[in-house]
């Protein structure tokens, strides 16, 4: 029988809105070359271009603000990813990422049983403080893992 006890305790709810310290990133052509190589693309063509390719964004493994969630919800997978890109990024430019936990919600009776979803949002600004990209990622956390990714509801 499914345990319908909510996983969203006061402690978990209090995490909504918590922020990670801003991080500075350089749009690095060497990283671009390495990503291209991992993806089986021609590294020289990527690094020689004026702008970083769009796939460079998906490689921002944005720092995740710690949640302190442990124990029965220790397993988790990335369930969804969304990027808005407001302009292309030039090699060598510096941007700053700011991340926060935007929302936490749960679902009962899914493939993994009761699942807690954490939606993170990162905003990326350039040296003039202008927004260049926004990323939203949803992580699903559940008690047991079969390693299967699961779409967020």
């Amino acid at each position: 029988m499914t345990d319908q006890r909510s996983l969203i305790t006061d402690d978990v709810r209090a995490m909504i809105g918590s922020e990670a310290a801003p991080r500075s990133l350089v749009i690095d052509p060497i990283v671009g070359r390495r990503l291209a190589e991992a993806l089986g693309e021609a590294p020289d063509a990527i690094a020689a271009a004026e702008f970083a390719p769009a796939f460079y964004f998906s490689a921002f493994e944005s720092f995740i603000p710690p949640t302190g969630i442990t124990g029965e919800l220790a397993s988790g997978v990335l369930a969804g990813d969304e990027w808005e890109q407001f302009r292309p990024l030039r090699w060598g430019e510096r941007i700053v990422s700011s991340g926060r936990i935007a929302d936490i919600y749960e679902r009962f009776g899914g493939r993994h049983g009761q699942t807690l979803y954490l939606r993170y949002e990162w905003r990326f600004t350039d040296e003039r403080g202008e927004l260049v990209a926004v990323s939203r990622r949803i992580f699903a956390r559940y008690a047991t893992s079969d390693g299967d990714d699961e779409e967020a509801p």
Binding site: E37, A38, L39, G40, P53, G147, D149, A152
Partner: protein, 143 residues
């Protein structure tokens, strides 16, 4: 990959993109992990993966999201502007198996300064299942 960027009048609703096929090996995932400086054991430790009941290590979700961007780049040209892209990771994918990334044009619009094209995107595994589903909007030059 074409060297030139498509123009809006080259594209029509219902167009299917030529699929992008990839077969990532573990070393490719390790390279990705190194380039992003993200080291999640399930992505490179086969013993750990098998101990968790998986057939093999997993390919990171963001690496599969990159396939969407590569598909758009292959189709529309290296200068393509991707305004937004999203992915839902529905099933795990493991190295050494072919993946095919597909796209379908769902809408074409003429904007003030550029054309806008909406696409449905997905990654299909060797069993024909959609392991990643998503969508994107790209910008193309007006004719």
């Amino acid at each position: 990959m074409s060297d030139s960027t498509l123009r809006l009048n080259d594209v029509h609703e219902g167009d299917r993109l030529p699929p992008l096929e990839k077969r990532f090996e573990l070393i490719d995932v390790v390279k990705w992990s190194g380039a992003t400086w993200t080291f999640v054991p399930i992505f490179y430790d086969r013993d750990l993966a098998r101990a968790q009941g998986l057939p093999d290590t997993l390919i990171p979700g963001p690496m599969k999201l990159a396939l969407f961007n590569l598909l758009l780049r292959q189709w529309a040209g290296p200068q393509v502007r991707v305004r937004n892209v999203r992915a839902a990771y529905r099933r795990p994918d493991t190295p050494n198996l072919p993946l095919a990334c597909h796209g379908l044009v769902t809408a074409v619009r003429r904007g003030e300064n550029a054309g806008e094209v909406d696409l449905e995107l997905w990654v299909e595994n060797v069993r024909g299942e959609r392991s990643v589903t998503g969508a994107a909007t790209i910008e193309l030059p007006l004719p």
